[in-house]
Subunit: 277 residues, 2 copies
C-alpha cells in the first residue's frame, strides 16, 4: 500500500474512533503493512495533530501495542467559537416572554455541538470519566457529542419513570431558582457501582438540577468526577454546585430594553495552568 | 508543507465536516499549498474512501471550487453491525415486564450510534433533507448522529409545550398500538416553510408517532422526504406509515419462554438497486 493511501486510512480510523484504543497489529494486517511503517505514519499524524492543537496520539509499543486519538481544540478555536455563539445569541429576537432566551436552534447544529463536545472532552479527559450523564431533554445532544469524543457511553435521567427503562432509581430535588420539587429517575442497569460520572447539561441557573443528578449518582454508589454546562447564568452567583465548567455565561436579559449580554464562561480560566496538548 | 502532513490535515478536515462544502481556496491558503497540489491530494483521498466503501468526495473545480465529503458505509460493515446488535439484543435478560425489550444501553454507545447514523445518512442523502426531526427522548441521539453526517440541523418535537421554545405548533395524534391520544409540539422557529424533513426515531410499532410527526410537519407547510427507524416491530405488519427504512425488525418477544427474535430491517432490501458509492 502506498504511504499516502495508508495515511488517509490511519487518519480516518483515528478520527472515526476518538478515545478508543486501536491495535497496531490489527491495523498492520488490515493495511497489509509492516508495524514499523504504521508507527512511522502515526508519528506524522501525531505531529500534525499536536502542532494544530487538534489533539494527540497516545501510543504503546510492544506486542499489545495500540494507539488512542485524544481529541483537543486549540484555545484560538475555542475562543472564536465562543465569540460566534455570543454574537448569535445576543440578537434581540431571541428574547422570549418572561425574559428567557431562545437557543434551541444553536443546540441543534452539529457543527456547534462538535466544538462544544471537544471543549468538554479536552477539559474532562484527565478526570477519566467512564460514563456521561444528562437529564432530558435539551442537554442530550451535548452529552452525545462529549461522550463520542471521550469514547464513553452516555445515560439520560428521565423526568418520569418509563417502562422501557426497567427498574429505576428515582430521586426528588428542588430546582434552585423556582423552588419547585421535581423528580428524575435513572434505570438501575445504566450505571455501575464505582462508575466515574461526568455530568453535562445545556443550562445552569442555581444548579438545582445538577445537584439532583449528583444525588441520584450517590444512590448508585458512583461518583461525579466533573460537571460541564453549555451556559450558566451569572446570577445567582452562589450556585448549589461547587465545581463546574461553563462555556458561556449569561449576564443579562433585559426584556424591555431588548438587550442580551453574554460573556465567556469559566472554561478559559479553568484551562489556564493545565497542560496544553 | 510536506505532502504527508497535508494529507493528514485534509483527511481530518473532511472527516470533521461531513456533508459540508469546504473551499479549495481556503484550504490552499491555510495549508500554504498550490490548489493543484490540494486537488491531487483530494483525488488520493477520494480513491481510498471509495475503495473502502467509506464514502466519496464531490468536487467542483474553478474559482468557487469546493469539496464535500459524503459519508457512506459498506454493505459488509452494515451487515456486521446488524449482526452484532442482534446478538446483543437477543440476550434474555433484556426482557422487561410486559414483554418489552431493554435497549437503552445500546442507544447510549457512541460507536453504535455512529454506524446507525452513517446507514441513515447513506440511504437518505439522495432525498436531500435539510432538517432532521425526532420526538423526545430516545430517538434524539440517533437524530444527532444522522444530522451530523448529513450536515443538517436537527429539531426535537416535545411532549409538552415548553417556555424555552417560544411560540409552538401543537398537534394531537393517536399512538397506533395503544390507541391513546397524545400531544407533541414544535417551536414555530424551528422549521421553515418548504423545508425537506427527514424523520428519525428509535422504535416504531404501528407508526402512530411517525404519523403524528408527519401531521406536525404539514402544519409548517414543509414536507417529509424520508423516515428512518432503528427498530420496527414485525407486528402489526400493516403500519400507519407508507414508506420507511428500518435497520432492525423485532419479530418476537416471548416473556414466558425468555426468547427474543430480531431480524435485519428493510434497510438492506431498500439498498438493492441503489447506486453504491
Amino acid at each position: 500500500m502506498r504511504r499516502s493511501d495508508r495515511i488517509v486510512r490511519l487518519t480516518r480510523e483515528l478520527m472515526d474512533h476518538p478515545g478508543e484504543p486501536l491495535s497496531l497489529t490489527d491495523m498492520a494486517q488490515r493495511f497489509i503493512s509492516a508495524k514499523s511503517s504504521i508507527s512511522e505514519d502515526l508519528a506524522i499524524i501525531r505531529s500534525v495533530m499536536e502542532s494544530d492543537g487538534e489533539g494527540t496520539l497516545h501510543t504503546h509499543v510492544g506486542a499489545t501495542g495500540g494507539v488512542i486519538y485524544q481529541v483537543s481544540l486549540s484555545d484560538d478555536r475555542a475562543a472564536s467559537f465562543v465569540d460566534e455563539v455570543k454574537e448569535s445569541l445576543e440578537q434581540d429576537d431571541r428574547i422570549l416572554p418572561g425574559g428567557y432566551l431562545y437557543m434551541t436552534d444553536l443546540l441543534g447544529k452539529p457543527q456547534m455541538l462538535r466544538i462544544a463536545g471537544k471543549m468538554f472532552a479536552r477539559i474532562f479527559v484527565e478526570k477519566e470519566p467512564n460514563v456521561v450523564l444528562t437529564v432530558e431533554t435539551k442537554g442530550i445532544p451535548l452529552a452525545v457529542m462529549t461522550a463520542q469524543y471521550l469514547n464513553c457511553p452516555f445515560v439520560v435521567a428521565r423526568r418520569d419513570h418509563k417502562w422501557s427503562e426497567g427498574s429505576s432509581v428515582s430521586t426528588n430535588y428542588v430546582s434552585g431558582s423556582e423552588k419547585r420539587i421535581q423528580t428524575m429517575s435513572l434505570s438501575k442497569r445504566s450505571i455501575h457501582e464505582g462508575a466515574r460520572v461526568l455530568i453535562i447539561d445545556d443550562f445552569m441557573k442555581a444548579g438545582g438540577t445538577v445537584k439532583g443528578m449528583t444525588g441520584l449518582i450517590n444512590e448508585f454508589s458512583a461518583q461525579v468526577v466533573g460537571t460541564g454546562v453549555f451556559m450558566e447564568t451569572a446570577e445567582p452567583s452562589d450556585k448549589l454546585v461547587d465545581q463546574y465548567v461553563s462555556l458561556l455565561s449569561l449576564t443579562e436579559v433585559d426584556e424591555s430594553a431588548r438587550k442580551i449580554m453574554i460573556k465567556p464562561g469559566n472554561y478559559f480560566s479553568m484551562m489556564e495552568g493545565t497542560i496544553h496538548v
